[in-house]
């Protein structure tokens, strides 16, 4: 306590909400007995104009340097009272609330007990207030340029959308060509137009846009800094390039799963291929005559364990585990637990393409459940009209593939509707495999400290309320980097990401969290524990000392409790402040 505290306590009746149960005058009298309290009185409604004026005037009249309002919950009324304090000339963080309504008068009926509890709550608040310190909310400038990582359809759309708004965009693609996975495809569901019709205009527009700098054959080496001020180092054809941006959009896409060799005879028997490989054959015109083709759905998806919640967001062990899973032949027999949601439509697409080219072909789709959501139901009906056969197999008895005479393949499976074993002799088997997290995505996530979700995709800040955002301020997700999507969904997310980034850049400055952690550099030994634990990458250990990047810290306090040297403190939630409340919870121990 630097200055001698002069505390003013305002106890609220809240009409009869508090006053009807708690003996407010008694609480006021009690507050007056507490050390450093120089003023205590009551209001009928403290949040009324009259009540707020009373706070403003009393601060001046009594030269208060701490204000405690005993009323309702700080979650709704703290901002209002803080403003009143500020208008009265007091730093708004020298204000403390005692919740004697939600936590007291509304939940206890016995007036005597409630009054005693209210006194305790007021005492705790006064005790804590003695240790409060003024805080500032720093402002931060946001550079009006953006980095888009990944030049697939999502990255292209996001880049164009930002560039059209006048922001400078650096579009970085590690391959020599733009276009991503879509470039490998032949025609697109549900319209069956050529990929080039969708892709080429976007690629041309990005390349020729005056606000976009396209860097192909370029990888990200390092990203330093934080929202508004990221410094990017990239390697382009072995040469280093550097630039600064205010925001980042991650559009690194996803990989298509390859089954390990031998799984469904993949890589063993000729004629067994993934849907992507089948589509490449179609694209190159290598399907030359009518054939019998069997497609198997959910190969490598909707199997295996769904990871327990404990792994969600906990980055380190998870990333290691995922990487090894992906690097093993881009997957393992374990497979992936989620539904990749593009494979059903994609199989139907290829089936239609084949039937339309060679109506005498026989195409069978073996599925567990067929998921043709939204308008794709029409697409499914179209396939049925073309006499594509849909047969069901069950998860427990996956289809088996073997050689058949005459260079053919035999697919044997159990049909639960017929209740018997069936087999089909065919020319080709196409395996519908999922979109899976990419190695590049995971490595980048690690670099940017973006947590992964339970499937290994980059995690959005909140599934329901904050999609597109990441946990790291100023970094947004577009496309399949965040999970399986088809092209229209990827484009929606890319435009959303561009909108989120442009809000930040359009505002030019943001107010950052006042309640951050601070490191006492004299005590810090650079052990790195804080850096490991912080969910926002706000601790940077350099030269044996940790520093908190205030723009990133959200003030959770996790690092404060962990630091072995007790070198970190949380503004507005210091040990002294918390312990003052603890020590006064049951008896008076004001110091």
């Amino acid at each position: 306590m630097k200055d001698e505290p002069r505390v003013g306590v305002f106890v609220c009746h809240c009409g009869t909400n508090i006053g009807g149960v708690v003996d407010v005058p008694e609480v006021v009298e009690y507050a007056k007995t507490l050390p450093y309290v120089v003023y205590a009185d009551r209001n009928l409604y403290t949040c009324s104009e009259e009540g707020l004026n009373n706070i403003r005037d009393t601060i001046k009249e009594y030269n208060l340097n701490r204000v405690v309002v005993a009323s309702c919950t700080p979650r709704t009324h703290e901002p209002l009272f803080r403003v009143a304090c500020q208008e009265g000339g007091l730093n708004p963080y020298l204000f403390e609330m005692a919740n004697i309504r939600e936590h007291c008068s509304w939940v206890h009926h016995d007036s005597k007990e409630a009054t005693e509890k209210a006194k305790d709550i007021v005492r705790m608040a006064v005790a804590r207030s003695l240790w409060l310190e003024p805080q500032e909310e720093p402002e931060l400038e946001i550079k009006d340029s953006s980095l888009v990582i990944g030049g697939g359809i999502s990255g292209l759309v996001a880049a164009i959308s930002l560039a059209d708004q006048g922001f400078k965009v650096y579009l970085v693609e590690k391959e020599a060509e733009l276009g991503g996975l879509v470039r490998q495809l032949y025609k697109l569901y549900p319209t069956l137009e050529d990929t080039s019709e969708i892709l080429n205009p976007h690629i041309e527009e990005a390349k020729n846009h005056r606000n976009i700098e396209v860097h192909t054959s370029t990888t990200i080496k390092d990203i330093e800094g934080y929202v508004g001020n990221f410094h990017v180092t990239a390697i382009k054809n072995k040469e280093q390039i550097e630039f600064d941006v205010g925001t980042i959009i991650v559009a690194t896409g996803a990989w298509n799963y390859h089954p390990p060799e031998g799984n469904f005879q993949y890589g063993v028997l000729d004629g067994v291929m993934t849907q992507l490989e089948l589509e490449e054959l179609l694209k190159e015109g290598k399907l030359e005559r009518p054939e019998i083709i069997v497609m198997i759905q959910c190969v490598g998806s909707r199997v295996g364990e769904i990871w327990s919640y404990e792994l969600v967001g906990l980055f380190h062990s998870q990333a290691t585990r995922l990487l090894s899973k992906i690097l093993g032949a881009r997957g393992s027999e374990e497979g992936w637990a989620y539904c990749s949601k593009i494979c059903c439509m994609n199989a139907i697409k290829n089936a239609i393409l084949i039937k339309e080219q060679f109506p005498e072909s026989e195409v069978t789709i073996l599925y567990q459940d067929l998921r043709t959501y939204k308008e794709y139901e029409d697409f499914y009906r179209r396939a049925r009209k073309l006499e594509v056969r849909f047969l069901k197999y069950i998860y427990e008895i996956p289809p088996e593939i073997s050689e058949a005479p005459g260079n053919k393949l035999r697919v044997s499976f159990y049909d639960p509707f017929a209740g018997e074993e069936m087999s089909i002799i065919c020319d080709k088997v196409a395996l519908s495999t999922p979109l899976i997290p990419s190695k590049d995505g995971i490595l980048l996530a690690k670099k940017l400290k973006i947590p992964l979700d339970q499937n290994g995709f980059l995690m959005e800040a909140h599934v329901k309320l904050r999609p597109i955002d990441t946990q790291i301020e100023g970094i947004f997700l577009a496309g399949t980097a965040a999970g399986p999507k088809d092209i229209s969904e990827s484009i929606v997310s890319a435009k959303a990401a561009a909108a989120r980034a442009s809000i930040l850049m359009g505002n030019k400055v943001i107010k950052t969290e006042a309640l951050t952690a601070v490191v006492n550099q004299d005590l810090c030994i650079g052990c790195g524990l804080c850096e490991e634990l912080c969910p926002y990458g706000a601790h940077i250990v350099k030269d044996g000392k940790s520093t908190v990047i205030e723009a990133l810290c959200k003030g959770c306090g996790v690092c404060v409790v962990a630091c072995p040297q007790k070198a970190i403190s949380a503004k507005h939630y210091t040990d002294d402040q918390i312990l003052a409340a603890v020590k006064n919870a049951f008896t008076e121990q004001l110091t």
């Binding site: 919950t73 490991e532 404060v560 409790v561």
Partner: protein
């Protein structure tokens, strides 16, 4: 209510879920016993084991820590840290004579007003059955534990991810190490009051002499304690500062 003992509960509530849940209990007028005094923290991950132990020292009979459900923490993973810390802590305090039920971690979301009200009621009843916290009996041990949980070694152990070791083994290592640290703090506290010998310390702490000697050697290596004299075939140890 019958005359007699009313338990005192100290609650730590995270701002985003549990405090909001408690607010909702109020808005919904769910009545519950008035035994709890609560402290709002931004995240349950801000609750320091030392705060919990200081709670007992300040008169709490039970400490209730509440946070967002796993996966819902406003700060992504704060509550996982809390869970780990509280789990370890409960096992350690059990060994020094504090019933682990006196520390309780629960998840309460912003919509679980009823759960919060019932939790306070149920926990108050549970602590009522346990009776008052044995503050007088174990106050020295409690002080030693406060020292230990604030120490560099224990904070490291409680928070470092030990990926190389199997989780169960790791937990055993952590718990025994913390116990040792508490013993060391017990000796430290005795020496803080004045010079002492191994047999005196054994009497005061009920620790075996060989354990005490080991700790003293460690303290001497650190430069915290030293032998300053000899009396009746025993060394006299002093705190060196």
């Amino acid at each position: 209510m019958s005359v007699g003992y009313e338990p005192k509960i100290l609650g730590f509530l995270c701002n985003w879920c549990s405090y909001a849940g408690a607010d909702l209990a109020g808005v919904s007028r769910f009545e519950y016993p008035p035994n709890a005094r609560v402290i709002r923290v931004m995240c349950s991950g801000r609750v320091d084991p030392v705060h919990i132990l200081e709670g007992f020292k300040s008169g709490a009979d039970g400490v209730l820590v509440t946070g967002c459900h796993p996966g819902d923490c406003h700060y992504v993973s704060g509550n996982f840290s809390t869970e780990r810390r509280v789990e370890i802590m409960k096992k350690v305090v059990n060994k020094i004579g504090i019933d682990p039920e006196r520390i309780r971690l629960e998840w309460v979301s912003a919509s679980e007003g009823r759960k919060y009200a019932e939790l306070v009621k149920e926990y108050t009843d549970s602590i009522r059955k346990l009776g008052p916290f044995p503050l007088n009996e174990i106050s020295d041990l409690l002080d030693a534990a406060i020292g230990a949980f604030g120490s560099e070694r224990v904070r490291w152990l409680m928070n470092k991810q030990l990926e190389e070791i199997e989780p169960e083994k790791a937990e055993n290592v952590i718990i025994t190490s913390i116990e040792r640290e508490i013993e060391r703090y017990q000796l430290f506290q005795i020496l803080e009051k004045g010079n002492s010998t191994v047999s005196e310390m054994a009497k005061q702490t009920n620790l075996p002499s060989d354990v005490i000697v080991q700790h003293l050697i460690a303290l001497m290596k650190q430069g915290t304690a030293a032998i300053t004299a000899e009396a009746e075939h025993e060394y006299i140890y002093t705190l060196s500062r």
